[in-house]
Subunit: 324 residues, 4 copies
């Protein structure tokens, strides 16, 4: 499935893993300010914030997986199979198709507060992008440097949750994911005291025993707990290199290795890519399963007033630095 | 602490993480065939197998952390604090100082079978490399493409264990580490069947639930179990890029993120470097905490008949591939 | 806190533990058919089903903890601190005070279906029994031999859940308790197969390894999972003695031992009593912390047409059967 | 399998569960001082300490499962399948058959110190009691009010371990069982502090969260950890009733419920009996699976100078105390 995370040092970083058994063909896409957006029900937006992210481009339309705009607002859609529920159009609501939700927010909102306002009026519809592409079942994390929310469209309606952890995975619903953290409140980066019994001489035979009980499997609830622990306890210098490096270490804690999650006979889910966007500088960093080197695309090196999508292929092979 | 692992596809790969709160200054070192080795008690070996690995070089002597020789035999020393026990010299034994053990084996043995023979006669002594450098408390993993053993010098003597997993971490002793795997025999990369109760409709709400119970913390026993599960279930194409990539994914499963293992006030153990040596081709790949790109040194690009150490600095900063 | 459970063999059994750090003075109480009940808002019920259960009697009113009526419907209230929410009176609803809920249902309903109908109209109010006795924060399990539900009055309203497990503990809400069972779907009374790796010889070193991962602590979620596993896998002969014995074994799996749950300095929560009512025969069995022998009160040995409460003291000391 | 435990208040208590899928016919047996004991290799002991315990009597010989002598020394044999190793007779050693070990110690030793001395010279032999009764694979716990040891006869020899917990179950070997407790040193009867992250508001939604992580299954290692936690944290008044009651609560924490441990198609291991001997008063208390009332036999009510075994049948049915 997938994991999204945020991280704040001098700048604000936002990224995610995309975990799946096959790729749809992703690219690093910059959507400049004048790229025209025609919404199914919401009319045309001719000029908007520039956006950078990973997208599958179909019919010249960027189907964003995760992205950030030039104001520092970022957003990602993650699988939410079985819980996501989208509706038909409803009169009096902003009827935004599921596939339009990321551009709808990122084109218009400079921060989470503005996004919340838009979401109050929204109805996320089941309208498909094309007959061949059924609506993915997703929920979304939206974050800026000050705030983070999760948006879930379920049978009961649209739920907007504060996300104090800045992490999102998949099922179950976000309130239940958060609640589970209570079970791990006694975990710590420090060695545990012996509170089992003061009459027994129980030793710390290894460093790192304070997080014993932290789940190590690849299920979505376990990835949520693990990424939350690593993120909340992460330390790094605040400069760009240290922050970006640390961010990839956070998401590496939920890396899906080929072979460990069999989804069908001899089909394995893996972490196809991992992204880390410096949302303030507009630089989109990423690695791929077979591309350990960090690659990057800087939106501000492009003409952001253009009307055309700019796309860079994702580097999916190892570029090895031979020292001799 | 540290984790070592092996992986076999077309070639045989051997590597490790070095986890610690500070670095002693490591380099990628090639010890050519004619670099003279003067052992404390075992005389001089003037000509030997060439060796490549990571070492701290002191007084022109390579103190190897992990290394492989040109015959494909590889070896690494990992922390074993509290259990390691070295002796004074014993008459009639091969008295090899703790710091000489890796060169002693890799210079003379073409495979694990030969290493076993040498170890039958060995006494690992507490002799220090220098007064300033007390003997580290270590145990060792030795592997070739067919076999893997763990060597532990403890109070009771020297124990040599078969290591069918090809993984080693730190405490407790290897037999206990292995025994713990029994507790996880029901884990699987596949979704679990509902055996809790056939009267309840319990759902698989996420992919990857088959390994629920796998420990996610950084203690040595938990890293052993996790690395064992990932390694034993790893799948990759057998070519060099796929194998090397998969190897780093295996060891990334036990990556130590800065902040998650506090060893003293505001001091954190991290994965300083991760190595992966193609022991058949003599290529030593590695990454560092702030160096996600895979770097490499190829021993066969050097003059292996030389008498001088060849050293390459470890690249410890991010080399980012900007696509624009 | 507390755990309730049901069990069905030839007859239907319903019971609970009461876990707390002190007792309010409980008795085994039979409320005969003509004991007059004056509800705060719902008028007087002069004749009703006879009821047996454990209650604290105050001002000649039975404040039932758990009870069953002569028709075989049973009900228990369990702590639900922080989630329970009771309202002021609401026009047009059946305004039943929290402390009246058990008699309201058991006096009028012959089965869960009838209880569901009454609950559709109910508003559970915060009216106190007396100024000195604030309303306990509870949720309820209601069961007959065919059906089992959980009723929770929370901020959002009144939720009625099907309870296919027939177990209830405390927090969190019942839907979340049930969802957690999914995480344990791979547990089993049988030994697990080795699915970790077919290349490793992992042994079953002990019987009973199939339920590894089952939580053993006293928190409410862990007790729910453990009691659910034991109950769903329980086997016994269908006769009275075997069924009653097995029922106490089920609830013993969540017994709270003095010392293991410290709720304040040197104050410990313990299992004050454990009950098991044969709801078809009207026999109420129980044990207490210091009373391991099963005691029993049979409602049908009393005059059930009486207008007066009948009470038996709870036996709270060990009656030891000395054989010599 | 089985669990043994000790408990000390004013007096010293020793007992065990016997967990198995079928019974061999156990009785409460008193072996008076003049019951003659003819050892296979060690000659005849005509007069000895009186002993009380549970035994299967065959050919007028008490095959004790657990017992205590009139001096307050107690001993129990527990399954140790796969690890137990008994030898042929060895010249110069005290060759004691496996089935004679309990009487050998309890007849001659007044305390653990004396038992240690005898064990220094012992060789536990594989001699069978009869051709039809192969030697059980056992290890033993021996305790008095001041000391507790575990004795294991394995391939490497006889190991005597201090047992500071006063608990024994089955596999693996005792040193490994004890080592595992280190993993649980952070558990506590108190609520855990939130050390996960001081930036998250993680709540204690239930009492008893301090022991989260305690295993709840029936495997021998999990029972050891659970019984150790309950025993080490147990609190009770020091009088006889409170102590005996608490003791049964300790062992109830590892009760095996019928259905939860399937050892063969439709065959289930259960806790056949649970014993608790006041070793100072010579009173042997016990319960059985279908006998929740505590029964007792007092050795000092018998003629301890007799030469004949005294046996009381185990009460295996519920004696229910009907209050009306």
């Amino acid at each position: 499935m997938c994991t999204a995370a945020t991280y704040k040092t001098n700048d604000f970083y936002f990224g995610r893993t995309l975990d799946y058994e096959s790729s749809y063909g992703e690219e690093i896409v910059i959507m400049p300010r004048n790229f025209p957006l025609n919404f199914v029900n919401m009319g045309r937006i001719a000029t908007h914030y520039a956006v950078i992210g990973t997208a599958h481009v179909a019919q010249d339309y960027p189907l964003f997986y995760d992205a950030a705009n030039e104001k520092g607002l970022a957003m990602a859609g993650l699988n939410f199979v079985g819980n996501a529920f989208y509706r038909d159009d409803i009169d009096g609501r902003d009827n935004v198709a599921q596939f339009e939700f990321i551009p709808w927010i990122l084109c218009q909102c400079a921060n989470v507060t503005e996004a919340r306002t838009l979401i109050e009026k929204i109805n996320i519809t089941k309208t498909q992008f094309s007959p061949q592409m059924p609506a993915g079942q997703l929920h979304w994390i939206i974050a800026d440097k000050n705030d983070c929310i999760v948006v879930e469209s379920v049978k009961e309606g649209i739920n907007v949750y504060d996300d104090p952890v800045g992490v999102l995975t998949n099922n179950p619903t976000f309130d239940m994911q958060m609640f589970r953290l209570n079970d791990f409140r006694g975990l710590s980066p420090k060695q545990p005291e012996n509170t089992f019994s003061d009459k027994l001489d129980l030793t710390s035979y290894s460093r790192g025993m304070g997080a014993m009980g932290l789940p190590g499997d690849l299920s979505s609830q376990s990835r949520f707990v693990r990424a939350a622990f690593v993120k909340m306890n992460s330390r790094s210098a605040p400069d760009e290199q240290s922050s970006v490096s640390q961010f990839f270490h956070i998401l590496n804690s939920v890396d899906q290795q080929r072979g460990c999650c069999e989804v069908a006979e001899s089909k394995y889910e893996i972490t196809i890519y991992t992204s880390c966007c410096n949302t303030e500088k507009g630089i989109y960093y990423y690695t791929t399963y077979n591309g350990h080197q960090i690659s990057a695309v800087d939106m501000h090196k492009e003409d952001l007033d253009s009307a055309k999508l700019i796309a860079y292929p994702m580097i999916t092979n190892e570029i090895i630095n031979f020292q001799n």
